[in-house]
């Protein structure tokens, strides 16, 4: 409740923040939580991720821009057994997904003129996906470009000394391709923001 009050006060007594800005750039640290088929392959959350967002204001509440990110998923599975038709393999597996999302982005911001501006956004583009399974002395790698969409909600916050912060939740979904199942993960992203 106290936190809500503080945020509300920020909103009430805020002066202009991004109203006059023409563009903003955000560098975020990404934590990613696999879902669906991605979770079936790697269940562990990823704490290796980064993204750079650039957004241009087309009016005080709307930006258009793009995003480039990198998320690394990794899991070791001891002595796993996999079968296909009449072949069975057993061994320790190291499984990796390197996902590089590249999106066009459109966002709409609430609370014009406030220090705290929640927003919602849509991302559309591609995720370059490299999936690698190592077993014993062997490795199987698939690399594919996936058509992808990513709905997003977030908030931009101006703090002391013009250190601006961005926090967002972005659900990334890359369509199934020939060799790799659909890519599905929720990104929890926090970072710093510059306005120009």
């Amino acid at each position: 409740m106290k936190k809500i009050l503080i945020i509300a006060l920020f909103g009430l007594f805020s002066s202009t923040l991004f109203g006059q800005a023409e563009s903003m750039w955000a560098l975020t640290y990404n934590m990613s939580f696999p879902m669906g088929a991605t979770k079936d392959y790697i269940s562990k959350a990823s704490f290796r991720g980064i993204a750079l967002d650039g957004r241009w204001f087309v009016d005080n509440n709307v930006t258009l821009g793009g995003s480039l990110g990198w998320n690394v998923f990794y899991e070791k599975e001891d002595k796993a057994t996999i079968s296909k038709e009449n072949l069975t393999l057993n061994g320790t597996q190291w499984k990796y997904i390197n996902a590089v999302p590249m999106y066009f982005n459109a966002a709409y911001y609430l609370n014009e003129g406030s220090y705290v501006r929640p927003y919602f956004a849509a991302n559309i583009g591609t995720i370059y996906t490299a999936r690698r399974t190592e077993m014993g002395l062997y490795a199987l790698t698939d690399k594919e470009w996936k058509f992808a969409v990513a709905p997003e909600i977030g908030v931009t916050i101006q703090t002391y000394n013009s250190i601006n912060v961005m926090f967002n939740l972005r659900y990334n979904y890359g369509l199934e391709t020939q060799y790799i199942d659909p890519l599905s993960y929720l990104g929890v992203n926090v970072g710093i923001l510059w306005t120009y």
Binding site: G49, W70, Y74, S83, E85, T88, N90, G91, R132, L137
Partner: protein, 227 residues
């Protein structure tokens, strides 16, 4: 002052994220047994329940590379009894009966065991390289601030490792009715189990790895069970 704080925050943030992005393929420590792989394959048209008797020849055949002799590695026979014992035990556990006199009473299946070891050499070379940029830079009130990444020299790194493979081959003699003409008949393999990994020097580790992998080959081949 404000810009300096912004820069500091930016650098700290980037260093923080950089720590988590050390590589595309992170990994934990790897033991010898981590690299062992057991692979089994069987003939789907075979009904294993028609088999009853078996024999395992008492010698493990060592296979060698006849094309490139330099790759061959002498294989120890210190583990032969252990391997033969494990295969026999697993066959008995699945209900097969050892044929004590195979010369006169041909068994239904023969499980041959062979082994091979190969030396592998990898050479890694990299060239002298300089990133050629300094980054990030910032013009403060009275100074330029910059960071120059270090210069890396070139070099060559050679690594050698030896891999070993144990191959178990179950051959169907039953379909020949006990009489085989080697020049004419083709003896079909109905099950192949292989164990592959790095050859290590620790006897106790090797014993436990052989135990696990041979047993695992049978464990993951439940269709062999004729009980």
């Amino acid at each position: 002052m404000e810009k300096k704080i912004q820069l500091t925050v930016t650098l700290v943030f980037m260093a923080f994220t950089g720590m988590f992005l050390a590589s595309c393929y992170p990994s934990d420590s790897v033991s010898y047994s981590d690299l062992d792989v057991v692979a089994t394959i069987y003939d789907e048209s075979t009904d294993f329940k028609t088999f009853k008797t078996y024999v395992v020849p008492d010698t493990i055949v060592h296979l060698i590379d006849t094309v490139d002799d330099e790759n061959n590695v002498d294989i120890s026979r210190a583990y032969d009894d252990q391997i033969l014992g494990l295969v026999n035990q697993n066959m008995v556990n699945y209900g097969y009966v050892n044929e004590p006199n195979p010369a006169e009473n041909h068994p239904d299946v023969v499980v041959t065991i062979s082994a091979m070891a190969t030396k592998n050499t990898q050479v890694w070379t990299w060239y002298p390289y300089y990133w050629g940029w300094y980054w990030p830079y910032y013009k403060g009130t009275d100074y330029w601030w910059g960071y120059y990444p270090p210069y890396w020299g070139g070099g060559t790194y050679v690594t050698t490792y030896t891999t070993g493979t144990i191959i178990m081959n179950m051959l169907n003699l039953e379909e020949h009715g006990g009489t085989i003409t080697p020049e004419v008949d083709t003896i079909n393999a109905v099950w192949i189990g292989t164990v592959n990994g790095l050859i290590g020097s620790s006897t106790s580790t090797n014993i436990s790895r052989i135990d696990y992998t041979i047993n695992q080959a049978f464990e993951q081949s439940q269709y062999l069970d004729i009980k």
